[in-house]
């Protein structure tokens, strides 16, 4: 293993869901370290808790107990409002179904997270243009999501995720809705984010080909985690 600084540190994390009168444990005493500029894949069967773990790291769900420290801050201690502000500044999200706002253009979708940043309009335009250039969609910035292919929509979503220069990027099945060629494009783009921009990427996937792009593959099964570094990391 390399000795890069830790960006995510999880200790003794428990999470369960209530179903009727029953409590169903989803994550059971999870401890995990993720280094800066690491590309981690979270794998596991359906219902194993991988999306739940991703949501907890991204601050969109609450753990029952345990600590999640991201960039030195224990996010389990934050209020909802603080957590919303923290997400806006520190987390970039890439979803399986892109989750772009259909009535906004590619440019406006990417600009959306910057509206909370306090940047001037000129600065926002510059950031958005840079992000869209990086995903090779400079010529599509005035297109609406409905006018773009699935791969292009996911690239817009990636531009939206990186435009605020977040601490971590979380991706939930980012290639799950794409054909093989588009999926390859997206994975290459994510690799570039890690190698060229030094971003930390945590990706949930079912696809072994996608997972093979990662430095570390962690397997979750019945709420228990097993991490396995890839040979070339």
């Amino acid at each position: 293993m390399s000795s890069r600084p830790l960006i995510v540190r999880i200790r003794n994390l428990f999470k369960s869901y209530r179903r009727g009168s029953q409590m169903l444990p989803v994550l059971n005493d999870i401890s995990l370290d993720i280094e800066e500029a690491e590309f981690m894949a979270l794998m596991g069967p359906s219902g194993s808790g991988k999306t739940t773990l991703l949501n907890l790291i991204a601050g969109i769900d609450r753990a029952d107990s345990g600590t999640i420290t991201v960039g030195g801050l224990d996010i389990t201690t934050l209020s909802e409002t603080e957590l919303a502000g923290w997400r806006a500044n520190h987390v970039g999200f890439i979803f399986q179904f892109y989750n772009l706002i259909p009535v906004l253009t590619a440019f406006e979708n990417v600009e959306l997270p910057l509206l909370l940043s306090g940047l001037s309009k000129k600065e926002r335009i510059s950031h958005v243009e840079t992000a869209l250039r990086m995903v090779n969609l400079s010529d599509r910035m005035d297109h609406y999501p409905g006018q773009l292919s699935g791969g292009q929509q996911q690239r817009v979503a990636i531009a939206r995720a990186v435009v605020t220069d977040p601490t971590i990027l979380v991706a939930d099945e980012p290639t799950g809705d794409l054909d093989r060629v588009s999926a390859e494009d997206i994975l290459e783009l994510m690799e570039r984010l890690v190698h060229e921009l030094g971003k930390t990427v945590i990706m949930v996937t079912h696809d072994p080909r996608a997972a093979n792009k990662a430095h570390v593959i962690s397997h979750l099964d019945k709420g228990v985690l097993n991490a396995r570094p890839q040979a070339d990391f």
């Binding site: 999306t51 739940t52 949501n55 991204a58 969109i60 769900d61 409002t81 919303a84 502000g85 997400r87 806006a88 500044n89 999200f93 979803f95 399986q96 179904f97 989750n99 706002i101 009535v103 906004l104 406006e108 600009e111 959306l112 997270p113 509206l115 909370l116 309009k121 939206r160 809705d177």
Partner: protein, 385 residues
């Protein structure tokens, strides 16, 4: 920038649904505005009444007359500046459906007491010269296409027979609160004709109209007048012109209350319609709201989007409803001028329309906004795909 664009684009995403909702709000605000105008029209006489005018009538009922001899006694009472009198004639022009107010009055003094009624001097002079002369309001003249010099025959209901009048004057109101559909003629003509025929009501009047020196002494003067005729054959009841008008409205108060209730029911119904639209909208977009929350947008932003959309839809309908109220009121006024001589859309009605639209939009947005703000992001995201 984006937020406003987003609100407008969201509002018109489902064009048919939005169109139907806007149409519903338009019709509701139009109906609300018209009903409020009907209520205002009901009170138009009260609004137009003067605080310095009193009306004295028979204490038993308005249908019983008062002797003309009371005139001089009333004039001598302290605080009285002028006295005139009139009698309700209740004549029918050709057919009962052509109803308009028509009454006999002492021509010179009566019209002097109503500075809001404007008659050209030559019309007034011609009216005073001709015992069978009559003066009609501008709207009434337009309604029947009368011209100066026309002979107008009214069929008497209280005073039987056909009564011919010569139109000598046309009056107009000082402003749009004045009834321009009334018909006046000389009391002397009525009295002399009744006298010749040897009928009752000779030397009797329906009411006295009194102008006082100061509106502040209205109560005292009223008491003095009624005290003067206490224990006489025709005891009097004196009240301000406003109270006199209100006593007429009191007879139909149940109808006014019913109209008021219906106007509020309409707003309640449209509130439910808009709330349903907003609930459907928010349910469909719960995933999008979850994305917004994921990106760091707070409850205030999400609520703003929902309330904004509700405002756009409701206010579009509200503005259209208000704009349509004016031509609709004009048609209404022309069709029902016999019943509502003054039918103006009041400024207060427009304010009530705006307030109603705002209330509908706000209340319709409460539940969807609460739901969108409180849904867990993870649950919201699960709705996508």
């Amino acid at each position: 920038m984006h937020v406003l664009k987003l609100i407008f684009k969201n509002a018109f995403r489902h064009k048919l649904r939005t169109f139907l909702t806007v149409l519903g709000v338009t019709i509701a605000i139009l109906a609300f505005g018209l009903l409020r105008t009907v209520i205002s029209a009901w009170y138009a006489g009260v609004e137009a009444s003067s605080a310095s005018r009193l009306v004295t009538r028979n204490a038993v009922s308005l249908i019983f007359p008062l002797p003309l001899s009371y005139r001089e006694k009333i004039r001598q009472i302290e605080g009285v500046k002028g006295v005139s009198y009139g009698t309700w004639f209740g004549g029918i022009y050709i057919d009962e459906k052509n109803f308009f107010a028509n009454y006999a009055m002492e021509p010179k003094t009566y019209l002097e007491m109503y500075p809001e009624i404007i008659i050209p001097p030559d019309h007034m002079a011609a009216f005073l010269r001709d015992r069978k002369g009559a003066v009609a309001g501008r709207k009434l003249v337009e309604r029947f296409g009368w011209k100066i010099g026309d002979i107008i025959t009214l069929k008497g209901t209280i005073f039987p027979g056909n009564w011919d009048f010569v139109l000598r004057g046309i009056y107009r109101g000082r402003d749009n609160t004045v009834d321009e559909t009334a018909f006046f003629f000389q009391w002397d003509y009525l009295n002399e004709t009744l006298k010749k025929a040897g009928r009752s009501w000779t030397g009797q009047v329906g009411w006295y109209l009194i102008v006082i020196r100061d509106p502040g002494i209205a109560a005292d003067v009223s008491l003095r007048i009624d005290k003067t005729f206490k224990n006489s054959l025709a005891e009097t009841l004196t009240e301000t012109e406003k109270a006199f008008q209100l006593s007429f409205i009191a007879m139909s108060e149940a109808i006014v209350i019913a109209i008021q209730l219906v106007s509020f029911v309409i707003i309640f119904i449209i509130m439910a319609v808009v709330a349903n639209t907003m609930a459907m909208t928010a349910r469909e977009r719960i995933g999008e709201y979850a994305v917004f929350k994921t990106l760091g947008f707070g409850g205030l932003h999400i609520s703003g989007l929902i309330f904004g959309e509700s405002m756009v839809i409701t206010m579009t309908g509200g503005v259209l409803g208000i704009l349509l109220t004016f031509p609709a009121a004009k048609i209404f006024s022309e069709t029902l001028s016999a019943y509502f001589p003054v039918f103006n859309v009041a400024t207060e009605t427009i304010y009530m329309d705006i307030a109603a639209s705002f209330l509908v939009a706000s209340i319709a947005g409460i539940f969807p906004a609460w739901r969108a703000v409180n849904i867990r992001i993870a649950d919201g995201l699960r709705r996508i795909g």
